[in-house]
């Protein structure tokens, strides 16, 4: 039995403590660890795990400051508890960055309390008690004890008002590779995911949603479906009630759904096909939403949209003036007097996230409480939605997070959690809601479709004198007007536009950057060629200008760190040493607080690209778990190459044209790079995000390498769309 002390109870702010002397975060993170008498330490991992390794790397921060042998650490997924944990969210590559201080404080505070307990027990001064690798020691008297022996005494002590954090050169855990704590469970097939939940008396629920965006439920005949074996009920319900002020994460295209509930998955899948539903067109509508504290009216237009129309409309919008977001100098005049103008258009399709584990959630809602378990990136937001929908107070809604079979942004939007809760409440039974792959791929919340026009003005000496980007999309713009090369060019203009749509979209790994980086970095490549310069040299020259004498004030990147990754990738890829047999392309980008440069070597053989090698240089500050960071970077690169080359979701009359992996092309083994090298810039800067940053630039590096391999520029994604 584990007789640990729990910080959940031990360390809440109480009236007697002088909270003002402590950092605010400190009080909220105290549920982080418990120590057993045998010295085992359980560290709670607060954030949702979607494959980005936080369940291993976040507890490493706690263990570092606790100063313990990592072998003695057991990691547990914490439940949603915002009175202790902060920002229990997986998104924006921010988990490590946002918790860098607070997680280490949690460990350091515990270490300090253990030292105090030892000092009291041994009647020696605190300053003479050391704590290292799980052992407390008083050298002068020869006294020694394990953390476990002092744990119960430490738990009774008052929380220290100040603690010292280690200097980075004293780290023994941070910066060393630790294996995925769930690895042994994953390779033996233990239940870890939402879809793996099976409970006594649990029913399976599956939805039937409109076949097209722009349609809604009209009527249904479920007579025969209800009579099928194993079927318990078929009914319709509304996920959110009319007038509910949704948050950004309540996004759903299809609010009224048909649900089939039964005893087993296969029976429900079959009955789904037997439900006869009539759908009808939606009309134009508006609704009030609460977007991070801002009340906004969001409009949804009626109509059945098609990709062809989207393409034509985007090209038209791209040819007209947009909303000016940034203007430096006098770009109009410079372009009017230019000796030469280079202008290119770029586009990308809608994408479905396609997490390998489709959307699902378990719910057991009784008269006075709700137990909700499953894969969700935003539990804190969805707890509010579920409570409001179920008519339960917030504290009666308990959300537990399972390991997720992928996130990529899709599980920020938790309508499926609310759906499961509503179904369970109605059935008065535990229910697991399961989306089929087809449901998952056709339900919406996609990466938007984008379009960008880049223009450069050159003078008679082929010098760059003006730069112009005009970008937009269905339904949002990908523009980040203050990113490079803004700040490096005297005359700069950035404009944007949007086209409204009833197709729902959401954040997709490095939202917006995942398109604009490709367009911008491809354009810079072509520009360098037009100027007769090496593509890395041109970028470095522009960055040098931005560093020494930046244009404008809102440039949101650090030119020196940006140049640093380009220099590192230049060195590691042997860029200057000359020719590789295949096509070679470079790209670099800054997003989510980190800098990444990629070099891709590929060839095109019998009409198909073969990616030989990718070099990746990353500056994300201190690297917490190096091998896992390499793995995550490799994943981002493979993901980016796959989406650049192959993936696309298209529409005809509102109907998604790809419903499963026989039609929607994802990158496969044989198409992945033959080898990948990831290098990190070594520095002492606090760590920043890694889940997203390696992804956006690789699209551009692929396009530029394809040009070198084929002599043809690739402007429109995906570059190799056919199912091969």
């Amino acid at each position: 039995m584990m007789l640990g002390f729990s910080w959940l109870a031990g360390c809440k702010p109480t009236a007697g403590m002088k909270a003002s002397e402590l950092p605010k975060e400190w009080f909220e993170i105290n549920g982080f660890l418990k120590i057993a008498p045998d010295g085992q330490v359980t560290i709670m991992s607060p954030n949702p795990e979607i494959g980005q390794n936080v369940k291993t790397s976040m507890p490493m921060l706690v263990a570092e400051e606790l100063d313990i042998d990592w072998k003695q650490v057991v990691v547990e997924q914490a439940p949603l508890n915002t009175s202790i944990f902060k920002r229990q969210l997986a998104g924006g590559s921010q988990s490590i960055r946002a918790s860098w201080q607070s997680l280490r404080m949690a460990g350091a505070t515990a270490r300090q309390m253990l030292r105090e307990a030892a000092a009291q027990a041994w009647q020696v001064p605190l300053s003479e008690v050391t704590a290292k690798q799980g052992v407390l020691q008083h050298v002068a008297s020869g006294k020694k004890a394990s953390y476990g022996e002092m744990a119960s005494a430490a738990a009774k002590l008052e929380v220290p008002k100040e603690v010292q954090l280690k200097n980075s050169q004293d780290f023994t855990i941070i910066g060393t590779s630790k294996k995925n704590v769930d690895g042994p469970k994953i390779v033996t097939g233990k239940p870890l995911y939402g879809l793996d939940i099976y409970k006594e008396g649990m029913l399976i629920a599956m939805i039937v949603h409109p076949p097209a965006f722009g349609m809604k439920f009209k009527s249904m005949d479920a007579t025969s479906a209800k009579q099928m074996p194993g079927i318990v009920d078929v009914f319709t319900f509304k996920t959110y009630e009319e007038g509910y002020s949704k948050s950004a994460f309540d996004n759903t295209a299809f609010n009224e759904l048909v649900v089939v509930v039964g005893k087993s998955t296969w029976e429900v899948m079959n009955a789904k096909k037997a439900v006869r539903v009539e759908w009808e067109p939606i009309s134009d509508s508006t609704e009030e939403m609460d977007l991070f504290g801002r009340k906004m009216t969001v409009r949804t237009p009626a109509g059945l949209e098609s990709s062809e129309t989207h393409q034509a409309k985007m090209a038209e919008m791209g040819s007209m003036p947009g909303k000016v977001v940034r203007r430096d100098g006098n770009p109009e005049e410079v372009f009017a007097n230019a000796a030469r103008i280079l202008e290119r258009n770029y586009s990308a399709p809608f994408l479905a996230h396609n997490t390998m584990e489709p959307m699902n959630f378990f719910a057991n809602v009784t008269a006075d409480k709700a137990e909700l378990v499953g894969p969700i990136q935003t539990p804190e937001f969805l707890e509010k939605s579920a409570a409001a929908r179920l008519g339960l107070p917030l504290e009666k809604v308990d959300i537990q997070m399972t390991r997720m079979g992928g996130g990529f942004g899709r599980r920020l939007y938790g309508h499926f959690l609310v759906e499961a809760a509503v179904i369970s409440q109605r059935m008065k039974a535990p229910v697991k809601l399961v989306y089929t792959r087809e449901d998952d791929m056709t339900f919406g919340t996609y990466r938007p479709s984008y379009y960008a026009t880049y223009r450069a003005a050159l003078d008679a000496n082929n010098r760059l004198i003006g730069f112009h980007v005009r970008a937009g999309g269905v339904p949002e713009s990908p523009l980040a007007a203050n990113r490079f090369p803004a700040g490096a060019i005297d005359h700069y203009l950035a404009e944007e536009w949007t086209i409204e749509s009833n197709i729902t979209v959401g954040a997709f790994r490095a939202p917006r950057s995942n398109f604009i980086a490709a367009a911008e970095q491809s354009f810079l490549d072509e520009l360098a060629e037009a100027m007769g310069k090496d593509p890395i040299t041109l970028r470095l020259e522009l960055l040098e200008r931005a560093k020494k004498n930046p244009v404008g004030e809102n440039n949101d990147y650090d030119a020196a760190r940006y140049a640093g990754v380009l220099e590192l990738v230049r060195e590691k890829s042997g860029w200057d040493k000359g020719i590789v047999p295949q096509g070679r392309g470079v790209a670099a980008y800054f997003c989510h607080n980190s800098y990444v440069a990629n070099v891709v070597d590929l060839e095109v053989k019998e009409g198909q690209p073969i990616v030989h090698k990718v070099y990746c240089a990353v500056d994300c500050g201190i690297v917490v778990n190096p091998d896992a960071a390499i793995n995550l970077s490799e994943g981002g690169l493979v993901d980016g190459i796959g989406h650049a080359l192959y993936s696309s979701l298209t529409f005809k009359d509102g109907v998604p044209q790809q419903r499963n992996f026989d039609q929607y092309r994802l990158i496969r083994h044989g198409e992945a790079p033959r080898s990948i090298e990831v290098h990190f810039v070594k520095n002492d800067t606090d760590p920043t995000g890694l889940g997203e940053p390696p992804f956006p630039p690789v699209f551009g590096a692929v396009a530029n390498a394809l040009y070198k391999a084929t002599g043809k520029r690739y402007y429109h994604q995906p570059f190799f769309p056919a199912i091969g």
Binding site: P184, S264, T265, R437, E634, G636, D639, G670, I676
Partner: protein
């Protein structure tokens, strides 16, 4: 509904299900063996890969009525202690990211190594191409398969 006697991971199991029920859902819904995953249901992603008499099969497209006396092996039955050389190689290379596809990847890799003990890169790429990893762990999977092959020499 009909009764089927199955040999799963060396044990004899009995289920009463519709004959068309895919082995995948028999394993997951009826036998509490959830290591075998659902990804597509149409034999496109490989998440549901099991062994039938040692050969890799997509359990989502294997009706329970077609299994007969074939020995079914799932990820749970691959080794007693989770220490099959391929499982060990997976841990050594710390392959998984989200991990969801990995049971299927491992089952495909074990079958591959049984057929070709010392596979070339091209053989790995082509035989493993039926298993999608959305997180992009392909290079590590290849490295792990090569390690496992090396160790079994």
């Amino acid at each position: 509904m009909a009764i089927f006697k199955l040999n799963v991971n060396g044990k004899s199991r009995e289920v009463d299900v519709d004959p068309s029920t895919p082995l995948l859902w028999v394993l997951r819904d009826h036998l509490q063996l959830v290591g075998t995953k659902y990804g597509c249901g149409i034999a496109q992603c490989g998440a549901c890969t099991v062994h039938l008499d040692g050969y890799a099969a997509r359990s989502c497209q294997t009706p329970v009525s077609s299994v007969g006396k074939q020995a079914v092996t799932t990820i749970e039955g691959l080794s007693e202690e989770g220490d099959h050389p391929v499982q060990q190689a997976w841990l050594e290379h710390d392959v998984p990211q989200c991990g969801y596809c990995q049971a299927g990847q491992i089952m495909s890799a074990v079958a591959l190594l049984k057929a070709i003990p010392n596979p070339s890169d091209e053989q790995i790429e082509s035989i493993m191409s039926g298993n999608i990893c959305r997180c992009g762990t392909y290079t590590r999977i290849k490295a792990a398969i090569k390690s496992a092959a090396e160790k079994s020499k």
